[in-house]
Symmetry: C2
Subunit: 445 residues, 2 copies
């Protein structure tokens, strides 16, 4: 039998990670929550049962957004780097892990009252053996520390190098609310970057900049991000230094990602508790050293919220309110929508062919309901960067219209250059318009 | 405070999903486990603490394999289909979910003995309120059932359509062992496909074939797969019919994926317990119906094990034992290895440039340690489909050698066609060899 305990966020921890400065909201959280629920980004968990407090389900669009965020992170920190490898440690870990990490006393410690003598006892009492107790991890980090030697031995990486991991973690939160900002179950994207002591300050600064720029590259406005240094009393027990990348959420400035200098705390602790050597042979000086660790720790859910908030916009277009998610193309759940102007058989045949063809490359949506204007609005609202419209002229000239979400600019181009054009546009490659017969983008004449 | 309980696999369930027929092993499990650990595919969880029974950590190569399996599944069942959407429901769900599903009595029910009067009490006793009890889901399926109306409302899908989900699930297993075949914590890839009653038999057959072929397309040998119908006494309480796709694992034939016809059991139960209507308006006949559900349920870990077993091969090459993983290119953790023939500066500069360039597209490895033969062997052993060797001649003719893993065939080709050639080869497009000067593949002359 297995008893499972979850970690209680302390009041201090909750506060530490809360709103750091309240400012007038630029995006209305209520509107965003409503959009997310109406369009299938995010639902309350187990909603038909009244929901489960602080748990959320990602719907058809939300799951794609989350997948895209994770993929963009993995690509940037693992695939494109020579000094990083991935890992996927299990959520359940050996209980001693949490003794070593200093988390143990924070876990739920359920008390049971004896109905007979009214004494209170811990459920961790005489019947349960120690080995049958496991804990739901409150952070993914420990999985990387305990695998330090495994990674070192199997990859033959030399310092500096890092381990990157995406995975679920759980905390009993005291202060919840603010949509997916803080939840009992959340997904982390964490890096543990191992460096030679003495170079830690330099690597700390490197990662601070690197991670800040990642958000900017993916479309977050610079003015909505700021760095905030932890004061000494805020520092976690393992941290030598810590900065938060704060984002201007609807409820104010609050932590989006934390970058901590954990020093040698974790490897020292796990070496002590496991009795295993967790040192690194520095071949230059022929000495065993304990690396320092720089930890950029981001949240998938929090990132999703920030990307949604930052992308949200309203404008008046042709006398109507246009709601747009200006999501970066690589994050947009749907890349292209295929819209036949009518449901006439011949038009549908062409549209379905294009749809099937594009779906080989991307998540693509097909919509033939209501007016074309309505359909554009529906796609704008979920952040689809491009719409492809097939009209009756398409049957004659084998050209279609592409409409860009942000500029609402429309151009016609031959069907046979549609895919490479979209490919280039989705990568953000600039393609000028060349007016020439049915005008289309330069480079695919 | 939150009490969390996990699901106890019953003896019957464990048996049901166990080895169904023992046959002489073609692949040695011990060898596979050893390779996985030595090269960084899979480690015992929390290994420095002696491991946590039946939990596993995926190392740098294992995490890529797993990502590729999940990506191939998502692409096949969500991206490329018009009748499927994704979902990512939280692991923690409202407790009533498990009453409705029929799982409740299977969860851990810890007993506590009062040290004073020696009576035994449930930890679910007077102090814990009902609402503070949550369960670790034993399957991802329920998240899709409870979101049926949410998906229907937000996507406007019509029957037949499906919801697909990848996520962790947990069971206290009675019979464990056999590496990652059965673990306490595992990852599922589940589809719930909603159909009109009466069409369920037809859709059941469709999914059986579709899922069988998915494994074959990704390289599993047909003779190592077979369909096995559940006998009546084997059927789960919700199932009208069930087939397993069995794979010939080293320990014998055992379940790789189950395809069940769940009838209307789940929607009826959740409607009953939630008081919400979970019907579908059939516009053709203007009546509200309760869809039937076909469920193809696969395991990520089990798939990983099957792909590894099926890919494992040993052969004598040049008098030496060559261990090869014949992994499908889309599943291989590393797609290309870049190998400079020596560590001379000029060679390294070219090799590093190619390495940086290819890494924009794929997971690429760089190896300059020991002889080229050794390096080929190292890549064969982890299933890298292509090696690119840069030699001194490369500095003069700007050509490099590509070596194919399976055939060990080597050809030279110009550096500037390297990327498109690899792109085509990795997609499995046939490119013949054209002998012409330094010979290279046709199509990129």
């Amino acid at each position: 039998m297995l008893s499972i305990f979850s970690y209680n966020a302390t009041e201090y921890n909750s506060k530490e990670h809360s709103v750091t400065e309240q400012v007038p909201a630029k995006v209305d959280m209520e509107k965003l929550v409503s959009l997310c629920q109406r369009r299938g980004f995010i639902f309350p968990s187990s909603e038909i049962y009244g929901g489960l407090s602080s748990c959320w389900d990602y719907g058809p669009l939300g799951v794609e957004l989350k997948r895209n965020i994770k993929q963009a992170w993995w690509r940037a920190v693992v695939q494109e780097r020579d000094d990083m490898v991935g890992l996927d440690a299990s959520i359940l870990m050996h209980p001693q892990t949490w003794e070593a990490s200093g988390h143990l006393k924070g876990f739920t410690d359920p008390l049971v009252e004896c109905k007979s003598c009214h004494l209170r006892w811990r459920a961790l009492g005489p019947i349960e053996e120690e080995a049958s107790v496991v804990y739901l991890r409150p952070e993914t980090a420990q999985g990387m520390f305990v695998n330090f030697q495994n990674v070192l031995n199997t990859t033959r990486k030399r310092l500096p190098f890092g381990i990157a991991q995406i995975g679920k973690a759980f905390r009993n939160e005291i202060t919840t609310g603010n949509f997916i900002f803080r939840s009992r179950e959340f997904e982390q994207m964490e890096i543990e970057f191992f460096v030679k002591p003495g170079t830690d300050k330099e690597w700390f600064d490197y990662w601070l900049e690197e991670r800040f720029n990642w958000y900017v590259k993916l479309g977050i406005k610079k003015e909505n991000l700021k760095l905030r240094q932890h004061m000494k009393r805020e520092l976690a027990h393992y941290a030598k230094a810590c900065y938060d990348i704060d984002y201007l959420f609807p409820m104010g400035w609050a932590e989006l990602e934390g970058i901590a200098n954990r020093g040698d705390f974790d490897l020292v602790q796990h070496a002590k508790y496991s009795g295993k050597s967790l040192t690194y042979l520095d071949e230059e000086n022929k000495e065993h050293i304990i690396p320092y660790i720089i930890e950029p720790s981001a949240g998938v859910d929090r990132s999703a919220l920030a990307f949604l908030c930052d992308a949200y916009d309203e404008e008046l277009a042709e006398g109507e309110l246009r709601v747009i998610l200006h999501l970066h193309p690589s994050l947009a759940p749907i890349k292209v929508a295929v819209l036949p102007l009518s449901r006439r058989e011949k038009l549908v045949a062409v549209a379905k062919q294009i749809y099937a063809d594009l779906r080989q490359c991307w998540m693509v949506s097909y919509d033939d309901a209501q007016s074309i204007g309505r359909r554009y609005r529906r796609q704008d609202e979920i952040g689809t960067p491009f719409c492809v419209t097939i009209d009756f002229q398409s049957l004659e000239d084998e050209q279609v219209t592409i409409r860009e979400r942000d500029s609402m600019r429309q151009i016609r181009l031959p069907i046979d250059v549609l895919k490479p054009t979209l490919e280039a546009k989705l990568k953000g490659e600039p393609l000028d318009i060349l007016p020439r017969g049915g005008s289309y983008w330069l480079g695919f004449k």
